[in-house]
Symmetry: D2
Subunit: 344 residues, 4 copies
């Protein structure tokens, strides 16, 4: 922590800051510059509240330096976290990038879901995604099939061998969703639902956290820190677009750079959702490729057996045919990346 | 709903869109312009999924026109919603603007809380605010006293007569918080925790929803719609700053214009939190005044008996002395506004 | 400048940073914390390039502390800059807040302009605003009357005594615009047209700089620094809204907090444009009041004699009648503020 | 253009809107919905001012539909614009993606520039970039060598055969820069310097426009429209990052999706600058690859012979060695893309 004093701070004001820091058992180092005096705080900063210091007379600003995320940071754990599932599928590190495919919401028509799952299986995907609980901006939109939807997903898993990823929206639903899902997904709007994050730290299934639409990477990593800190090391991050400058052409701005940044600063796997991240079918292929080549550990793609009649987000869902065509191209790139990773 | 076709859309493509809409029992009106054909959809649009149409060949974009919030809209209910409490305090419409004051978090030191509450009472405030459950970006930060904090708030209410506003962070805690609070506050990061919003629609206490840091006004109103739609008409909105361009001088950009916008388009009361909205003590007075003169139904202000040692957000908390000084100036303005409202 | 080393930086890497800084004739102060080593740089930082240091091995980040704006900063000049015009009108400090009113663009109909000018005069305004050169996003939009427009403004000044504020769009036009204008306005999109800012530093007329739609306050002040540094101390800042979260209800987010922030950190006058800042007629009154009560030295308001047929920005322009009504209310508040300022 | 009336708009109000539109020689089509009446405007919308209609009583909003960019739109010209230089180099369409490399600023040390140019040549680059005029946020930063810098660039072109890209900052400098440059670059902060864009429409050299840090894609394309409309069809677009949510890890958010969007909606070439777009050396390779695989027609990369002592933007500049290493990897990808393009 660095305390920058105002150019006109008096010796008394500087002394008050120093006394306060020392009273907390920390040491200081005072740098008197030509214009400014800077007080560096040494020791365990968790003993001290940076905002308190901000309130002292004569303080211009307090710069906190030590990153507050620890357990998810690569400086704490250098090796990549690789999450392995019972069927041998792995996510993270230099493992072959995965594809999670499926409809935005699970709908009443089980046969439709099964068609999508079979197509995903056929294209070599590892995961079936689908929402049984749906966070919808408007109360008038379709809210999900709830347990019925979870049953459908489990049934499709049984028939195809795909693993199931589905969203958890409320702490109370955790036991129920755990019964059915292989990965519990935290939606973007719940990224800072801290009570739920804590509770997810106490389960033994992997958790996938989607980045909030206005969350910084630090906030994103701190959301993961909540889960890991509470006991669950198996967290997957998912970039899904942030609020950007432009709403005419895309729903969100897919922050591809988040992938190499997170791979550098954290050991956790990071996947990308180009469907929500762009909101447009024609962008899924180029942005999926961009994410993979930038280092994503996987992609999450929306596919619907009949997107023109989907209950939610039809516009960004691929039809089964479109999906197969794109998956073929993505698989070619995944194969190349996998080959390069194994032969580095 | 307006469907804009691509300039080169064929007659067949236009026909498919029209057929689809008519198959849902809706009527269309086709406008053939020089460059573009536009299909207007008439009838109950909830029967149709705008995103489905977006996926038809030849469609450039679908513009949804009818606002999806209804119950909170002034076109549904013209008269202001005025929320009245047992002790006669009212929020909304042309009632005298209120002040909610108190610490960010309730801390172990009850005497400190009581000092703040007494100062608030002395300055004519109507509400004591304070967090018993604290949403914190980092798991290493103070997480709140939980039920003990609620008891303290209730005790302070007993001693001062102030009403209690406190945050609810999880659906499971609703019954507990209802036991103690007069207003249940939904934090900015939970603005789209839809399960909790639904559950709050079924209680008989007023709910105050803080605007998410990247929420549009439409999303903000739709969060309120969730509560009202589920049965609770007593919703207060609270503007608390959005993510802006600048993070050097303020934590957030206080969107003062949200006040007159919401007063025009909704009948719900809207209050403003200049403490979180700016993150700086010296901005609370000018921004509090700005909010009031722009039409806010009240202010929420952080006060701490010892801000230099506060467990959270000390930097933006006023000391009791600072608060009294500012409250005096704000009360003068509130008096003028109240006078003008009563003599319009 | 503070150089934060990576937790694993070697002694050799730290040594390289220190050597480099010392080779530039500066001193260092090394703080070895438990986790991190921090190197503080003391002396005239203009001798050193912060980005260079960023590139050394083992450096995590470089935090620049001394604010790069100097001449416009209140720490350089404590007294408010008050700009006085020949006719005695003053802007800045505790002077009576001013109103600048007029059409977005000067149009062919001189009589219309004169009507607006007379109304402005009648309402006690001090300035007539109007664009002769118009920056328009599309080349197909009206581009301004150019010199003819300047002549009209000068003529209206002659007939009403109002001072003239008009936009300068290109370095080459400076001599021409200087011939006619009392204040040269730099548009938001030209805020970082550095060549033009330099040239405006060499003229003897006041310059008003509008904040860029995505400019931080620091960038805004640095734009002013360009003008002052090049010799012209008479700069007025103008907040006119930044790109925000919401585009449905307003064109921009008026950053009212910029007013008290700039008044704290700079001695320059700051005015507010609620017309461009909101894009909506119904928001001009509440946001104009909010700006004034937050400390603005003046307002800039668009008025058109026939807004339904205006060549540009009709939607945000008031009609003469609407303007008179609002100006009356604003004048009441200006009177109160002026009274309070004189009796502090 | 679609005029949406308020739910309570009277017949008289609707009639006024209709009369106004018809008075301009346009036709209308009125759709009366259950809740809203919508008036569609048919005919040449340039005859009418959308904002004027917005001001009529009873109008809720005006939705403009026809895109205002025409000449740069793919609906006007379906074939890709491919810009060819005298030495046979081409940019655009399915041509081999190019690399532009060089220092941020041209500095006093010509030998350093030459070293970079030779390395670029060696790695198969086609262009040498370097700023002779530098837009700097602060007047205290290095402002460029001006004509001396242009001479250096021309000299390096003579010695290496690379084409020269350099920035133009002011209309007055156009003749001078034209004497030396092969492509005139418009900086991000000048993207809406409309006077300069117009003047660049009248020269016979290609113009490269960088996207403003807060510009929408529509605004970006309209900036290009200014140049093309004024007579110069040879415009290259350059995505260089937009202001995003996060400033801790990157300077900007590189909007990779802008590449496939622009390729879909415009025929102009689009290149990407991962150096400015991220501000970090370690992100240049992954983001350069992401841009190429998403369809970029080229990359612009900062290289400095001695980045630790660069006059500007050293942090994001690669050293010659780093550049060669990355260029090798990028060339491999460029080769693959080129092969795929030629064998589609």
């Amino acid at each position: 922590m660095i305390v920058v004093m105002e150019p006109k701070a008096t010796e008394e004001q500087i002394g008050q800051v120093v006394d306060y820091i020392q009273s907390k058992g920390l040491r200081v180092n005072i740098n008197r510059g030509e214009h400014l005096t800077v007080v560096a705080v040494l020791g365990d900063k968790t003993k001290i509240n940076s905002t308190s210091i901000n309130t002292f007379e004569g303080v211009r600003e307090v710069k906190v330096i030590q990153e507050p995320y620890k357990l998810v940071s690569r400086s704490t754990k250098e090796e990549d976290t690789i999450i392995e599932f019972k069927n041998g599928v792995k996510i993270g590190g230099l493992e072959r990038p995965v594809i999670m495919a499926g409809p935005c919401s699970v709908e009443k028509d089980y046969e439709g879901l099964l068609k999508v799952a079979k197509a995903a299986r056929e294209m070599g995907c590892q995961f079936l995604r689908g929402g049984a609980f749906k966070p919808r901006t408007s109360p008038y939109d379709f809210q999900g099939l709830e347990e019925k939807g979870l049953e459908y997903l489990a049934q499709a898993r049984k028939e195809t061998g795909l693993l199931v990823v589905t969203e958890i929206m409320d702490t109370m639903d955790i036991p129920l969703v755990c019964k059915y899902a292989d990965i519990l997904q935290v939606g973007a709007r719940n990224m800072q639902n801290f009570k739920m994050l804590k509770a997810l730290g106490r389960i033994d299934k992997p958790v996938m956290i989607k980045r909030g639409p206005a969350a910084t990477i630090r906030e994103f990593l701190l959301a993961a820190e909540y889960v890991v800190y509470n006991g669950n090391p198996n967290v997957i991050l998912c970039e899904r677009g942030i609020k950007g400058i432009d709403n005419d052409f895309t729903r969100n701005t897919l922050d591809v750079a988040a992938v190499p940044i997170i791979r550098k600063y954290s050991h956790l796997p990071i996947i990308v959702d180009p469907s929500h991240g762009t909101g447009k079918r024609y962008l899924i292929e180029p942005m999926g490729k961009a994410a993979l080549i930038a280092g994503a550990h996987g992609l999450m793609i929306e596919v619907h057996h009949d997107p023109d009649h989907a209950s939610s987000d039809g516009a960004q869902s691929l039809s089964i045919e479109q999906f197969k065509d794109i998956a073929k191209k993505l698989n070619k790139l995944i194969g190349r990346i996998d080959y390069d990773n194994k032969n580095m």
